[in-house]
């Protein structure tokens, strides 16, 4: 037990470090800042795995050792418990030296006293064994304490099993879905990296989620009130399973995977046409600029970039990129231009987009990063919802007159919703283990093992006998004092004695 406790303490100490040093899985941006701020010390922490304490090899090692020592502790205890549950209570040679002891003069004969006592003890849930040699009983009660304690401790092994199974075979990723679109559960459709377990078989379900509508509600203070994604859940064969509202605290559970409402944002539909026709016609998922200290989150504009390789104008068909800055509530932009206080943009109100067109060579085509090193700004402007404008700039120097033929349109503003999609088949196991922990904890803390011995000897004079009762409790001794006195009264009463008739040798509590 001592080893297990020391390892548990080590685990707690590691957890303290994990809560004081920023952790990569929880707050990656703070880890990056910490590394910048602390230089050499930061890289030392990184080397030691202190930016991911709970995923580090030594945390796993402590956990592993803890469980090994726990099992090493529990196996003999469980064996001992089974042995003691199978065996009969052991007779005592001397019973008057126990912590509690009393004698009573009773009317019944010794054999009748023992038979009566057996009934009483059985009724009180004692396990009783009679002495073959003489009229005597040994009884005990309270195995629930050890059973509960073992249940409590074994349940942690079950938790470990549930965690390993659930995390090992499960995954977790993010799905970004624009209103009106359908997202399918397949590896390619996740946004960013999918966190998969070690035994994950790549068995995506093909389940579809169609986002009919996203709604957000805010208080006047700008405090968020409710986010709802109204979705249709579609099976892999294309049949609709059901329609559901997904909101914070109300995930959708379908085909073994769950969709959680995590985030949301704006996605304008943008149409760019050049001389050859439509170069781009899609919704653009925008990211919100991080708000500086003291400015409401929703006061910041949303940004996105459209990359059009080979769509630039001029000789050699350079690449083109259109940078977008969306103001869902144009009043906030005008407030900014007037030098007024920043305004939170909580609902759509005459949205506008400020765009900048770049021509040149695109470098990072695969990612969202936008590198302007090899590009130059050709034109920029402002565009209201429902409007289409001509991109004025273009490479006029080329003299082919194409410059002004391209247009950009902003027909529609939609919202997008971000879901966490995850599967953890271990959850029911862990939940069961958690329930067992509680179920085991209560008897382990609040019951006690008690042992009682009863003896009946013929009275020295006339009929009747002397009832002798001894006993002790291994835990909760003050409570047993009362229980023993009551048990003694019941035994005396059953044997035809007078409960108030205190024998000459009376000792209810310890010497």
């Amino acid at each position: 037990m001592r080893t297990a406790l020391i390892l548990l303490l080590l685990l707690a100490l590691a957890s303290v470090m994990g809560s004081l040093i920023p952790q990569y899985p929880n707050t990656p941006e703070r880890v990056a800042q910490y590394k910048i701020d602390h230089g050499l010390f930061g890289s030392f922490l990184d080397r030691a795995g202190l930016f991911d304490v709970f995923g580090s090899w030594w945390f796993a090692l402590i956990t592993f050792l803890l469980f090994v020592s726990l099992v090493a502790c529990l196996v003999p205890r469980t064996r001992a418990l089974i042995r003691s549950l199978r065996s009969r209570p052991v007779q005592a040679r001397e019973i008057d030296s126990f912590r509690h002891y009393a004698e009573r003069n009773v009317a019944a004969a010794p054999e009748a006293v023992i038979a009566g006592s057996r009934r009483i003890l059985r009724r009180r849930m004692f396990r009783v064994a009679s002495d073959p040699a003489r009229p005597a009983l040994a009884a005990e009660k309270g195995a629930a304490r050890e059973v509960g304690s073992l249940l409590f401790h074994w349940a942690f092994i079950l938790i470990l099993a549930g965690v390993i199974y659930g995390k090992g075979t499960g995954f977790s990723g993010y799905a970004v879905v624009v209103e009106g679109d359908t997202w399918i559960d397949a590896a390619a459709n996740y946004d960013g990296q999918i966190r998969t377990g070690r035994f994950f078989g790549g068995d995506f379900t093909g389940t579809g989620l169609r986002l009919r509508e996203f709604e957000s509600a805010f208080r006047e203070t700008g405090q968020p009130m409710d986010f709802v994604s109204r979705v249709d859940l579609i099976d892999a064969d294309g049949s609709t399973i059901r329609s559901q509202d997904i909101r914070v605290n109300h995930p959708a559970d379908v085909n073994g995977i769950r969709f959680y409402q995590i985030n949301f944002g704006w996605a304008p539909r943008i149409v760019i046409r050049d001389a050859a026709g439509a170069a781009f016609d899609d919704t653009v998922v925008m990211d919100r600029d991080p708000a500086p200290e003291g400015i409401p989150d929703f006061a910041m504009p949303w940004r996105g970039v459209i990359k059009l390789p080979g769509a630039g104008e001029g000789s050699n068909a350079p690449d083109r990129a259109v940078e977008l800055e969306l103001w869902p509530d144009s009043r906030a932009l005008f407030a900014l231009l007037n030098g007024d206080e920043p305004q939170a943009m909580l609902t759509e109100f005459e949205p506008v987009i400020r765009y900048t067109v770049w021509d040149g060579r695109l470098t990072e085509l695969a990612t969202n990063a936008f590198d302007t090193t090899f590009m130059r700004e050709t034109t920029s402007g402002i565009l209201g919802a429902g409007r289409t404008v001509t991109l004025g700039g273009g490479d006029r120097a080329a003299g082919n007159g194409g410059g002004s033929s391209a247009t950009i349109g902003f027909p529609d503003l939609k919202q997008y919703s971000v879901f966490q999609v995850s599967r953890d088949a271990g959850v029911p196991i862990v939940l069961l283990a958690a329930i067992l922990i509680l179920v085991g904890l209560l008897p382990a803390l609040y019951t006690s093992r008690r042992k009682v011995w009863v003896r009946a000897e013929p009275a020295g004079t006339g009929a009747g006998s002397v009832l002798k009762v001894g006993g002790f409790a291994l835990q909760r001794r003050p409570q047993f004092e009362d229980e023993f006195a009551k048990l003694l009264d019941a035994l005396t009463d059953e044997a035809g004695g007078v409960p108030t008739d205190r024998g000459e040798r009376e000792r209810v509590s310890a010497p």
Partner: protein, 319 residues
């Protein structure tokens, strides 16, 4: 009655409760010092009055905000104060018949409320969507009940450590005053083998006599602290489990080593260590009490430090 009026009722009742607790605290300390029955009766009555005002403050707050009144740190603190005082009156005074600890329990509530109103006050308002779940009733209630009982156990533990030290000193000084026993006419300066038990009895006698300014015996305090902590532990365990179930619903994972999760786990581990230490020979008494004290500090970190200074999902000081 409008929300604004309810909010005023809540704030006024809070002030009444704070001052009632303060008065009762002074009264209980006076009772500890002078042991006059009348002082105790008055202090107890004032503490009950404060409890009533505290309860009104919480209920009115619930009406003002149209939701459960434990949605932010201010409200949590007010409820915590109520439960610590109620726990003291019911458990320590009611079940264990100890009247001298009232000043300390009330001091904890007074400090909690003073911190709440000075640094954590926010007007009654709605909850953020993440908190808007029926689990707030289950998880937060369990956490508050567990915390208040751990706090009460922590207070008794601190008093135990003081009393235990005082008793040891008293016994030492009594042993020093003992004249050397006379054996066979000669003065034997080395103590006979039986001296230890004699000293223990002397010490126990000195401690048993109720004296002015004296706390209950260390043994009693140790037992009461243990009872309260053993009562709190399953509640805290349940609070952590309920939190994990809620996290599974709200954040899509039952455990993510968020600072709050981490610290509630650390607190749990320390108290589990205390319960084991209590049943291990050589760890009973002082060493176990020191573990319980560390658990109490960890509890305070779990509540204050994690919410206010450590960035995580539970950093909702405001709403």
């Amino acid at each position: 009655v409008t929300d604004l009026q309810w909010a005023r009722v809540s704030n006024d009742a809070f002030t009444v409760a704070l001052f009632a607790y303060l008065a009762a605290m002074v009264g209980y300390f006076a009772y500890l010092a002078f042991r006059r029955e009348a002082i105790w009766k008055v202090s107890r009555a004032v503490a009950f009055a404060g409890l009533g005002a505290n309860l009104i403050s919480i209920i009115a707050r619930g009406f003002a905000a149209d939701r459960v009144p434990w949605g932010n740190m201010y409200e949590y603190s007010v409820l915590l104060s109520l439960l610590v005082v109620a726990g003291y009156l019911l458990i320590v005074e009611g079940m264990y018949k100890l009247r001298t600890l009232g000043g300390f329990a009330l001091m904890f509530s007074v400090l909690t409320m003073a911190v709440a109103v000075s640094f954590l006050y926010v007007g009654p308002g709605p909850l953020v969507p993440a908190l808007n779940s029926y689990w707030i009733k289950i998880h937060v209630q369990a956490a508050i009940w567990g915390s208040s009982l751990f706090a009460l156990g922590g207070i008794v533990t601190i008093l135990y450590l003081f009393q235990d030290r005082w008793e040891r000193r008293e016994i030492e000084s009594l042993a020093a005053k003992q004249p050397p026993p006379i054996m066979g006419g000669a003065v034997d300066l080395s103590a006979p083998a039986g001296l230890d038990t004699d000293v223990d009895e002397l010490g126990a006698a000195a401690v048993a006599a109720p004296k002015r300014g004296r706390l209950p015996s260390a043994q009693t305090l140790d037992r009461v602290a243990y009872r309260i902590i053993a009562f709190a532990f399953p509640i805290w365990t349940f609070a952590v489990i309920a939190g994990a179930i809620w996290a599974q619903e709200a954040w899509g994972r039952y455990w993510g080593w968020d600072p709050k999760e981490t610290w509630s786990f650390i607190t749990w581990v320390i108290y589990a260590g205390y319960l084991h230490a209590r049943s291990t020979s050589g760890w009973k008494g002082r060493p176990a009490a020191v573990i319980a004290l560390v658990g109490f500090v960890s509890l305070l970190i779990t509540y204050y430090a994690v919410n206010l200074w450590i960035v995580g999902l539970h950093s909702y000081k405001g709403f």
